[in-house]
Amino acid sequence: MGGVMVDASVAVAHVASGRAPLLKAVAITKKFGDFAANVSIDLDLYPAEIHALLGENGAGKSTLVKIIYGLIQPTEGDLIWQGQKVVLAGPSHARELGIGMVFQHFSLFENLTVAENVALGLPPDEPFAKIKARIVDVSTRFGLPLEPDRDVWRLSVGERQRIEIVRTLMQEPKLLILDEPTAVLTPQEADQLFIVLERLKSEGRAILYISHKLDEVKRLCDTATILRGGKKVAACNPREETAASLARMMVGSDIGEVKAAPSHTVGNARLVVKDLSVAPEDPHGVKLRNISLEVKGGEVFGVAGVAGNGQDEFFAVLSGETLTADNGKIVIDGHGAGELSISQRRLLGAAFVPEERLGHATVPRMPLSDNALLTGYDSPDMVRHSFILKNAMLSVVDRVTKAFDVRKAKRDPEAVSLSGGNLQKFVVGREILREPGVLVVCQPTWGVDAGAAAVIRQALIDLAARGSAVLVISQDLDELREISDRVAVMFRGGLSEPIAIAKADRETLGMLMGGSAVEQAEKEVAHAGA
C-alpha cells in the first residue's frame, strides 16, 4: 500500500510550512509482560492541527495515548515536547506542560456537583466561587452549556462529557487529546463540538482525535495515523482517502457491510405503548409525557434524540426497572405488562440491553458465566430446584462467543477484563440467543469499534427478520438510519410521530431532536401569511 509515500508527502508539507512539532513521539514501545501493546510507534503532533489516531479496539491507541498523557511509562522510546526530551512523571506533569485529555470513560464523582468535580482537577488554591464563574465563562465561550451546581449523577452521558471537556479546556491545554468524543453525541451536538475543535485549532492548539467514525475524521482531521496490532501501519491525509480505504488500513482487510434484511413480512404489533406518562423517581429526572408507539414483529423501530430527553427513564419503564401504575400502558405480545417485574416481562419473551455495559448490563467483577445467569436465571435450563447449573451457564458463554466472535483471553473471564466492543457483543448476544419476541436495546454500539458495531447491527436486523419486534434507542443517527424501518424522536419526555426511514433525512430528524418542529411549523404558517 502507499502508506509510506503518503507519509512522506505529509512530512514534506510540514517542512515547507517551517513548523516544528509540538510533541514528537519517537519509537515508542510498550510491553506488558510478553505482550507488546505498542511497537516502535512514531507520532508528530503540530500546533494548529487536528490529528486523527485510528485503529480497531486493541490496536494500541489507548496505550499510546496513556503514554502521551503520562499515565504509563513507555518501555522504550522518547517523548519530545517543544524540542525538549521529557519523561512524564504522571498526568499532573502532563497537564503542567499543557497536555489535556478527555477520556471516553468519564472519571467523575457522581455524588458531587459539576463545579466540585471540576475543582478537584484544579490546583487547590483557587477560590470555589471563582471556579464556578470560570466554568460558566468557558462553557458559554465554547457553547457547551453547564449548570455548575447540578449533581453529576443526575446528568446524562452527553452532559457528563461536557464537564470533562470544559474542565480540560479550563486548563488551557496546548495539546488536547479526545478519546471517542462523539460516541455519545447527536449530529447537532457533534457539529457543535467540531466548531469548538476548529476554534481550538485556530487558536494554535494541537488536537489528537481518537475515533472510529471515519466520516467525521475525514471531515475534521488534517492528518491521520493508523495503528493496527500495536504497530503504526500508515500515516495519511484523511481528506484524500475514502472511508473505505481508511477502514481497510485499520482492519487490514475489507470489513463486512451491514446487509439489509431479506424481504420478510411485517406482522402484528408485539410491543405496544399506549399513552404512557410517568413521573420520574428522581426529582431531576425527565417526566415521560403521553408516549405511544407500536413495534410490529419483523420491524426495527428507532428512537432518536439528544441524551437526557427521557431515554433512560423510557428504557427503565419498558424494562420494568420502573413500574407503571396501569398494567395496560405497556403490552408485550398481547399481555398487559405495565405492572410486571423485569423477570415477568422476560418470561413473556422480552429481552433488554441497557446502555451501560459495566455495572448495569453486567456485574463487572463476575465471570461471563455468572453474567449469563444474570438475565437468564428465570428460564429453566440454567437453574434447577433453585440450584444453578454451571455447565449450562458456560455453554451459553460458549454459544455467544461463537455466534458473536467475542474475543477474550480465557473461556470464562471477568466481564471487566473484556474490551468495550467484545463485552457489548456478549451483552447483546446473550439476549439475542434467547430469541426474544421483543428486544429493547439502548445505545447498542456506544463506544464500540467498527467491526463489533457491524456485527451487533447485523444481529439486530436479522432478529427482526426472524419475526421479533426490535426497539432501538440510540443517539447515533447513522446507526438508526442503517438499521431501522421507522424512527421517532424523543424530546423532553415526549415522542414524535414515527417517520418511515426513507423520509427521515438528517435535517428532519435534527429538527425534531432540537424540538423545533413546532416552531418550524409556526414559522411556515407565518411565511404563508406574509
Partner: protein
C-alpha cells in the same frame, strides 16, 4: 517508591495468602506489644498460640469457643456479601439466648420432656431473626443506616437481659445473684465428647458452614446475594429486589446469632446470666473477614480466634497478662485483614523515581 497497581483480574493466590499475611503481621505487632509490656515476646507468643494446641482440654475449649463464633460469622458473611452491614450480631445473640431461656425458666423443675430443648433452639433462632428484622426494616422503610441501628440495639438487648435476670427470672434460691436457676437436663444441649464441654452446637455450626457454602456457591439465592452486593444496578436489571434481600440476610444472620446465643446458655453456661458472651458477636465480624466471607474460611478463622481467647486465658493465668490484650490482638488482626485485602485487587510494585499518584487523571 511503592505504588499500588490495579490488577486486571482478582488474584486467587492473593485471596488465599492475604489472611495468612495478616496473621503473620499481627504476630509481629503483638510481639512488639508484649516486649513493651516487659514480657519476653517468645514466651508469650508460645503461651498464646502454641501451648493450647498441645493440651486436650484447651483443644476442646477451642471448639467450644469457636462454635458461637462460626455460627455467627457464617450469618454475617451472608449479610456482608450482600453489602448489608449487620454489626449487631451481639444483640441478636443475647436476644436469642433470652427467648430460648424463657421456655427453660417456665418449665424449670416440671420435667416437661425432651421437646423442650428443641423448642428452645427454635425460639432462640426466631428471637434472633425478629430482633435483626428491626434494623432491616428501619433500613428498607426509612433508609436508616443499619450499621448504627443494629449496633445500638446491642445495648438494648444487653439491658433487657440484665433486667430479666435481676428481676422476673431471678433464681429464688440463688442468694440474690443475678442469674436464673440452672437449666434442667431437658433444657440442656447434649455433650458430644464425654468429659468435655464440646456440645451439639459444634455440629450445628458445621451444618451452618456447609449450608451457607452451598447457598452462596450453588444456589440462585446465593447468586442474588452476591449480585446485589457487587452491583446494585445490575441486580435491579436482573430483577432482584434489594430490599427483600436485606430483610432475608438480616433475618438469617439474626437466626444464626440467636441460635448461637441459646446454644451457649443451654450448653457451656447452663443458665441465663449477664456475662454470657465475651463479645462473640463482635469477634465474629473479625472471623467473617479473616475467613474471606467464605464459610469454609470462616470455620478455620473461627478456630483461630477461639485460640486467641484460650491463649489469652492461659497467658492471664501463667504470665499475668491482662485479658484486654486479647481484645487488642483481635483488633490488630481485623486491621491487618482489611489492609491485606487490597492486595487481592491491587499489586504492590516498586518503582524508581518520581511517579504519579493521581491515577484518576
Amino acid at each position: 517508591m511503592l505504588v499500588l497497581e490495579r490488577r486486571a483480574e482478582r488474584s486467587v493466590t492473593a485471596a488465599l495468602v492475604s489472611p495468612l499475611v495478616a496473621i503473620a503481621l499481627t504476630l509481629v505487632t503483638m510481639a512488639v506489644v508484649f516486649a513493651l509490656l516487659g514480657k519476653n515476646p517468645g514466651t508469650v507468643l508460645y503461651v498464646y498460640f502454641i501451648e493450647p494446641l498441645f493440651d486436650s482440654y484447651s483443644l476442646e475449649e477451642i471448639v467450644v469457643k469457636a462454635t458461637p463464633l462460626v455460627l455467627i460469622g457464617v450469618g454475617l458473611a451472608l449479610c456482608y456479601h450482600a453489602n448489608v452491614w449487620n454489626i449487631g450480631a451481639e444483640g441478636q445473640f443475647l436476644i436469642g439466648a433470652v427467648c430460648g431461656s424463657w421456655l427453660a425458666v417456665k418449665t424449670n423443675g416440671a420435667d416437661a420432656g425432651p421437646w423442650v430443648l428443641w423448642a428452645m433452639l427454635a425460639l432462640g433462632a426466631v428471637g434472633g431473626a425478629l430482633y435483626a428484622l428491626i434494623p432491616a426494616l428501619c433500613k428498607t422503610k426509612f433508609g436508616a443506616s443499619e450499621i448504627l441501628t443494629s449496633l445500638m440495639l446491642v445495648y438494648v438487648a444487653d439491658l433487657v437481659l440484665d433486667y430479666l435476670v435481676r428481676g422476673p427470672w431471678r433464681d429464688p434460691k440463688g442468694f440474690n445473684f443475678p442469674t436464673t436457676a440452672a437449666f434442667d437436663d431437658n433444657a440442656t444441649v447434649p455433650i458430644l465428647i464425654e468429659g468435655s464441654r464440646v456440645h451439639l452446637g459444634a455440629l450445628l455450626a458445621l451444618v451452618a458452614v456447609v449450608g451457607a457454602w452451598l447457598l452462596l456457591s450453588r444456589t440462585i439465592k446465593g447468586f442474588e446475594i452476591n449480585v446485589v452486593g457487587a452491583a446494585p444496578r445490575a441486580a435491579r436489571f436482573a430483577g432482584f429486589d434489594a430490599n427483600k434481600l436485606t430483610i432475608f440476610t438480616f433475618m438469617v444472620s439474626g437466626a444464626l446469632a440467636g441460635l448461637a446465643g441459646i446454644v451457649e446458655v443451654a450448653g457451656p453456661v447452663g443458665r441465663l446470666q449477664p456475662a454470657i458472651s465475651p463479645g462473640y458477636g463482635f469477634t465474629a465480624i473479625i472471623v467473617a473477614f479473616l475467613g474471606r466471607l467464605n464459610p469454609i474460611g470462616i470455620l478455620i478463622a473461627g478456630l483461630f480466634l477461639a485460640l486467641t481467647f484460650i491463649g489469652g486465658e492461659l497467658a492471664q493465668i501463667s504470665i499475668k497478662l491482662p485479658l484486654d490484650v486479647t481484645r487488642v490482638c483481635q483488633g490488630i488482626l481485623l486491621f491487618y485483614v482489611l489492609a491485606c485485602d487490597s492486595l487481592i485487587l491491587y499489586r504492590i510494585r516498586w518503582v524508581q523515581g518520581r511517579r504519579a499518584t493521581d491515577a484518576a487523571h
